[in-house]
């Protein structure tokens, strides 16, 4: 007789373990267990049959693989957690005795990342364990970057120490530097949530989101301890990734960091990259921003900047509008441009577009000098422009240090990125009135000649399409063309806003649309004619039109309606008209409409047949396959319904536009 098997001794019952059991087994507190799971990348599993796994009735039990938990038992961090616990006990005991100095001493030795921003333990071994190869790490970089970029933009609170934020920011900037140097940024997208970037590193596509630079609203139920645990891990990961990336292109990591520049808001400019080779270090030190800036003693520059800033602030207090402010800036700044006497032509002629010769998209902006206006987001623009080869970017000194030039009137500027509305004519006239005396002062609507003024979206669209877009579309104040996501892969049958409507609508939709057009046209014509004829008949007209519409509605409603039926309907209508003593309106159907109607009928017939065929074929499927088929059909139908909705909306919009025009 075989041995009797007991229930719950083998199989699924042994393979899975609940969270409570796991915590008990590891002798940890729940927060520590959570930390360990986050770092080690251990996640719950869904058993195929919950009943076989547990006897408990609670549906929301979390299960882990027993093997996973066993593997955690050998984790060196476990000991650290226990030490930590012991230490905390000591501190609390000392405090209980009222021995504050002792407690403080313990505290000083405490390895608490929340307090100091830096734990005593390192997560290096976990990084290596979770990502055996570098490519594994790159694959998991999406979340890492999104998280760190978010934290770099958070305000510091008790839950998010300032040190952590500073470290995140530094790591992110270092990563951006790599992307700039290696030209691996591919795409970027301005969404309502923030700016998406996609980079390709060693064949791996990495997509991350950077929120706009606003104070983040923190909704109540966000646990920053959990986020902090993730951030801690991600910081370590990105540090190692950065090291590897820097060394792969022969740069030293970490790059030199200029505290002073950083304090002045230089951001990317605060770093200076160095080659690994010590002998050639001096030569390889790369100018992050631009050569001119480097010669200036940073301290002196800082002083000067401060003074200028003060002056400006004073000025801005007196000035009311932003435009006036801008003027003031220009006045105040020591301008060394020579073209003072150039007549300022409002909306000066646009230079011929510098032809983009190279085929390398990473050198898209290589030959240009950009100037960022005060209201534009400097950080993303600077990053994206540099990543696509731009070497010289100037900006208003309000936007921080590290600009190629703070002088708006610099003659070397080829592109001026501006995001201001065009101010009405009154001011511009004034600008015209005061001529040569204030030649260098540029009015709100006035432009420096010889440069291209574009809105920020131009940069993104250029980058995504890998070509220089025509700047007229993006001129200041112009209605911008829609900004499309570069991440959407065009799938056959899916709605694509870039293609004309005719190219993608279904036959039925096209016919329907044509019919509607024809109907509208006919209605307009008819009313015109009758208006010419008699005014008294206006009422009748309306009624007749109503009747006509009724007919059409019926036609629309009953798709299976036969021609004969419609004829009888027509006849009935005529009879009704006679009874009311009205003129029988002979419905004139022009041949085009008729042919369309026929087409529609044929199409409907075909659709019906197809549906029948489908039904027959479905009958031959097994039950399982039929279910699968129906599911697929459901999702496909949902998608196509959405697409159809979009097409309908677009058709409507286009029609409105046409009517307006």
């Amino acid at each position: 007789m075989p041995k009797i098997k007991k229930k719950g001794q083998a199989g699924a019952a042994k393979n899975y373990i609940t969270r409570t059991q796991a915590v008990k087994k590891l002798q940890l507190s729940l927060p520590d267990f959570r930390k360990l799971c986050i770092w080690k990348g251990i996640y719950p599993r869904e058993p195929r049959n919950k009943k076989k796994v547990t006897k408990s009735v609670t549906a929301s039990t979390t299960f882990y693989y027993t093997k996973d938990i066993q593997y955690l038992l050998h984790e060196p961090l476990l000991q650290k957690f226990r030490d930590q616990k012991v230490l905390e006990k000591k501190i609390s005991r000392a405090l209980g005795r009222g021995d504050v100095s002792d407690a403080a001493r313990f505290e000083r030795h405490a390895a608490r990342p929340e307090a100091t921003g830096k734990p005593r333990y390192t997560l290096n071994h976990i990084i290596r364990e979770r990502y055996p190869t570098f490519n594994d790490a790159l694959r998991d970089l999406d979340d890492c970057l999104s998280m760190l970029f978010l934290f770099a933009n958070l305000p510091s609170t008790s839950a998010v120490p300032a040190k952590m934020i500073a470290r995140c920011e530094r790591l992110c900037l270092e990563f951006q530097h790599y992307l700039i140097v290696s030209h691996s940024l591919r795409k970027s997208f301005l969404s309502i949530k923030g700016i998406y970037y996609q980079a390709n590193i060693q064949g791996e596509d990495i997509l991350w989101l950077v929120p706009y630079k606003f104070n983040q609203r923190i909704v109540g139920d966000v646990d920053f301890r959990i986020m902090g645990t993730f951030v801690e891990f991600y910081m370590t990961l990105l540090g190692f990734v950065n090291y590897r990336l820097y060394s792969s292109i022969g740069l030293k990591y970490p790059p030199k960091f200029d505290q002073l520049k950083d304090e002045n808001g230089a951001e990317l400019g605060a770093f200076s990259l160095e080659g690994v080779n010590m002998a050639t270090q001096g030569e390889t030190t790369q100018a992050i921003t631009n050569g001119e800036e480097q010669k200036v003693d940073p301290k002196v520059q800082a002083e000067v900047d401060k003074i200028i800033k003060q002056l400006k602030e004073d000025e801005s207090k007196t000035d009311e509008t932003a435009e006036e402010d801008a003027e003031a800036d220009d006045e105040e700044k020591p301008t060394d441009s020579i073209d003072k006497f150039e007549p300022v032509a409002p909306g000066g002629d646009v230079l011929p577009q510098p032809a983009y010769s190279g085929t390398d998209p990473s050198q898209l902006f290589a030959n240009f000098t950009f100037y960022l206006s005060r209201e534009t987001p400097r950080q993303p623009l600077e990053f994206i422009l540099r990543a696509f080869g731009c070497k010289r970017i100037g900006w208003d000194s309000v936007l921080g240090e590290g600009a190629f030039t703070n002088d708006e009137s610099d003659s070397s500027i080829t592109h001026h990125i501006i995001d201001r509305p065009v101010v009405q004519a009154a001011t511009s006239e004034e600008g015209d009135g005061e001529d040569n005396q204030t030649a260098q002062k540029v009015g709100p609507n006035q432009r420096y000649p010889g440069r291209i003024y574009v809105q920020p979206q131009w940069v993104w669209d250029c980058v995504n399409d890998e070509e220089l877009k025509s700047p007229e579309l993006y001129a200041p104040g112009a209605a911008l063309p829609p900004h499309l996501s570069p991440f959407v892969k065009a799938a056959p049958g899916q709605y694509d806003p870039t293609l004309p409507l005719e190219a993608q609508q279904t036959e039925a939709e096209a016919i329907e649309a044509d019919l509607e057009d024809a109907k509208d046209g006919a209605a307009e014509e008819g009313s015109d004619v009758e208006n010419d004829m008699d005014v008294d008949e206006a009422e009748d007209d309306e009624e007749e039109e109503d009747a006509e519409e009724d007919v059409e509605e019926d036609e629309e409603g009953d798709v299976e309606e036969d021609e004969e039926e419609s004829k009888t309907l027509q006849r009935q209508l005529e009879l009704e008209a006679e009874l009311q003593g009205k003129k029988v309106q002979n419905k004139k159907v022009d041949p085009k409409t008729k042919s369309k109607l026929e087409q529609r009928k044929a199409l409907e017939k075909k659709a019906k047949e197809e549906a029948e065929d489908l039904e027959r074929a479905k009958g031959m499927l097994s039950k399982k396959k039929r279910k699968l088929f129906e599911q697929m059909q459901y999702t496909n139908n949902k998608k196509s319904a959405q697409d159809e909705k979009l097409r309908a909306k677009r058709r409507k919009l286009e029609k409105e536009k046409a009517q307006k025009a």
Partner: protein, 743 residues
């Protein structure tokens, strides 16, 4: 009455009147009330009292007066004192309060400095007597504690009273008598003898007068003199130096100094070495101010090439990497194409939904320039939710088929390709009363026979629908089934009515006399044989399974030639292809439910002694000597030559209604009362190759096309008849392709 009693107390304490000149005259009216309340007994003192009150009233507010009078009590409570002290500290500028403090006279220290507070007098014994000043209790300000002159004579030289026995008058006007002079006193004292040690006290223990002895007197004297009370004790003895700095010549112990006193301690050396080592290894660091240390800690962050010796490892099949977030679509753009913007209704609908139920967590928005884009409020929340998903969401691998759903569908030929098949009703045969139970088309294809509830069997012209022949077999029972004998050399119809099976030769235009004769011969050939057969075939005592007989003259005239009576109601007749045998099935007939009849011998055999389940129908194999019997659940196939069970087909239906064998012989269709039509490939499996459920009611009858077209049909209780296209390929390896042609 509080204040009043207090005033009384005070009066008792210091009965001396205040000086008159301090009375404020304007208080008269104000105090008239209190005046009335006093008893007449106090008449004498009334004025003084009033004086006091008025004085206090003039000096301070009522509150303070209250407090002041309280404080002037004999025994001020601690709390009060404390309070007063507190007041003093708080408001030390106010003199009034200072004065009010009981027992503390601020002016007293000055007095001490200036003169002594006592005077020395001589007592009766001529000893010195210290007469201390009356302690000024410093009461309320209204209590003048100045030493009142006992004599009120004023500033008059005392010599004026030399001639009088009194020296003046007291405050009550009584004479103050001149005190006794020294001489008189001494004389009086001398006259009284005082024993030595007299104290004037009484010993409480003995009751005798307490006298002090000499020793005690000496003690008292010493105490009085401020001397040490006992002569024996020396208050200042010489100090005895137990330890001195003077080295003795002779040591206490003669033992030599031990060696360890000269050697350095090993233990200490160990401790020191430990420290040294710790310092060398950097475990102990020199002290640094905390900020500096923190800075250093920051720089400790060391990165290195962690993937220097990376080895690609095999991916654990159980590991499920976290799915990446989907990339943003067009509708997430800050400036999306206009068609992506929600309409008013869509927006309302979205806002109405719970945040959890929304399909998208955002609404597409359009901003006409980048500077107008606001911050997205949910960034932190969404990231947090992603974090929660990463660590808390159970991961399950779900296989998603990324295929065109149409690829799942079988490739079916279109119905138009499969023609011919009947599409419209061609002929309607009218004539039966009640239900028609069974219909059969003759082997030549010119006539159709039918049997119904009216008990008649009719033969019709197939093309025209004209009734050519009819016979009434029974008046009560219905004709359950009609079947033609499947050979073209005869024109024989079989019909089952109740327990009887009739064999007949109907008249028809196509039936030549020769054919009719041949048919009659076939039927009557067995009569002679039957008698002989029955004698030796069945045991005489046993009832034969069936009786073959002539149906009677009336029916014989109509063309009905043979009546076979079996044991129970016959529902099914099926002929063998050669036309010599036919099988009848009577489901209610227990053991004898299936019977095989031999026409040439007029012999009936019951092949099964025992049958598992109720027999439903039976049929001969079209090509081979096989016999199929369907019970409720299974179809059994028997070899008629070897007389053994060959196969049990299990369609899996609950109740089989009918089945038919493909003319090719390898396929089988089964209809069941549980709405199913099943196709079996006999070579493939005992299980159905295809199950089709297209009817809403039970399937009654199934049939293959006999004319060679790849069609089969089923009839259902729901009133429909479906024709299927089922092509059995010539190639054995290919599976049959089935398609439905519609009802």
């Amino acid at each position: 009455m509080g204040p009043k009693t207090i005033e009384k107390k005070r009066k008792v304490q210091d009965p001396e009147p205040e000086s008159e000149d301090e009375i404020a005259p304007d208080f008269d009216g104000a105090l008239s009330q209190s005046e009335d309340e006093f008893d007449s007994d106090f008449d004498d003192d009334k004025e003084h009292e009033q004086d006091g009150e008025e004085e206090s009233g003039s000096e301070a507010s009522d509150d303070e007066d209250d407090e002041g009078s309280l404080l002037s009590d004999d025994i001020p409570s601690d709390a009060e004192g404390d309070k007063a002290m507190g007041k003093l500290v708080l408001e030390d500028e106010e003199e009034e309060l200072k004065i009010e403090i009981p027992g503390v006279d601020p002016k007293r220290p000055e007095k001490d400095d200036g003169e002594k507070n006592y005077r020395v007098e001589k007592d009766a014994n001529g000893n010195e007597r210290y007469v201390y000043d009356e302690i000024d209790p410093v009461y309320d300000s209204d209590d003048s504690d100045a030493q009142e002159a006992p004599n009120t004579i004023g500033d008059i030289p005392m010599s004026f009273y030399d001639s009088y026995p009194h020296i003046g008058y007291d405050i009550n006007g009584k004479k103050i008598m001149r005190p006794a002079t020294k001489d008189a006193l001494d004389a009086l004292l001398d006259s009284i003898e005082v024993p030595k040690g007299w104290t004037g006290l009484t010993d409480i223990h003995t009751g005798n007068p307490l006298n002090l002895n000499d020793e005690e007197l000496e003690l008292v004297r010493r105490v009085q003199m401020g001397m040490i009370p006992n002569d024996l004790e020396d208050p200042y003895p010489e100090t005895v130096e137990y330890f001195t700095g003077i080295e003795e010549k002779m040591p206490l112990s003669a033992a030599p100094e031990p060696k360890r006193r000269f050697l350095p301690s090993k233990n200490e050396a160990k401790k020191i070495m430990k420290l040294v080592r710790a310092i060398r290894e950097g475990r102990i660091l020199p002290y640094k101010p905390p900020e500096e240390r923190e800075k250093e800690e920051e720089e400790v962050e060391q990165y290195f090439d962690i993937w220097q010796d990376e080895v690609p490892t095999e991916v654990n099949p159980l590991h499920i990497p976290a799915p990446k977030l989907p990339p943003p679509g067009f509708d997430m753009s800050y400036n999306p194409p206009a068609e992506y913007l929600p309409t008013k209704e869509e927006r309302e609908e979205w806002e109405k939904l719970d945040p959890e139920e929304r399909e998208k967590e955002y609404l597409p928005q359009k901003y006409d320039s980048l500077r107008k884009v606001p911050g997205y409020g949910e960034v932190v929340k969404e990231r947090f939710e992603r974090c929660m998903d990463l660590y808390l969401a159970p991961r399950v691998r779900k296989n998603r088929l990324n295929i065109d759903p149409n690829s799942l569908l079988p490739k079916l030929p279109s119905p138009s390709e499969l023609k011919p098949f009947p599409t419209v009703a061609q002929t309607v045969f009218r004539g039966h009363d009640g239900r028609v139970r069974s219909v059969a088309i003759d082997p030549t294809g010119v006539a159709v026979a039918s049997g119904g509830d009216d008990g008649t069997v009719r033969v019709w012209e197939l093309l025209t629908g004209r009734q050519v022949w009819s016979v009434k077999l029974s008046s009560e029972e219905a004709v359950n089934t009609v079947r033609w004998r499947p050979s073209k050399d005869s024109f024989i119809l079989s019909a089952a009515v109740g327990e009887e099976v009739y064999l007949m030769v109907p008249t028809h235009a196509s039936v030549t006399p020769a054919l009719e004769q041949a048919s009659r011969d076939v039927l009557s050939a067995g009569f002679g044989y039957a008698t002989g057969g029955q004698t030796h075939g069945a045991a005489p005592g046993k009832e034969p399974p069936a009786k073959w007989a002539r149906p009677g003259a009336k029916l014989e005239d109509e063309g009905v030639l043979i009546r076979i009576t079996v044991r129970s109601t016959v529902k099914v007749i099926n002929w063998h292809r050669k036309g010599d045998h036919f099988a009848t099935v009577s489901p209610s007939g227990q053991r004898s439910s299936v019977a095989i009849h031999t026409l040439s011998k007029h012999l009936t055999q019951i092949p099964f002694r025992k049958l598992s389940g109720l027999a439903q129908t039976a049929s001969f194999h079209p090509l081979r000597p096989l016999f199929f019997v369907a019970t409720q659940r299974t179809i059994r196939c028997y070899d008629l030559q070897k007389l053994e069970l060959v196969k049990v087909v299990q369609p899996g239906a609950k109740w089989i209604s009918s089945f038919d064998i493909h003319p090719g012989g390898d396929n089988l269709i089964v209809g069941s009362y549980d709405k199913r039509l099943l196709w079996h490939d006999l070579d493939l499996s005992i299980r159905p190759y295809k199950t089709m459920r297209f009817h809403s009611e039970a399937v009654r009858q199934v049939k293959y096309h006999k004319g060679g077209l790849p069609l089969f049909a089923d009839a259902s209780d729901d009133g429909t008849l479906q024709i299927f296209h089922g092509k059995v390929p010539n190639d054995q390896l290919e599976n049959p392709t089935l398609s439905r042609q519609g009802a």
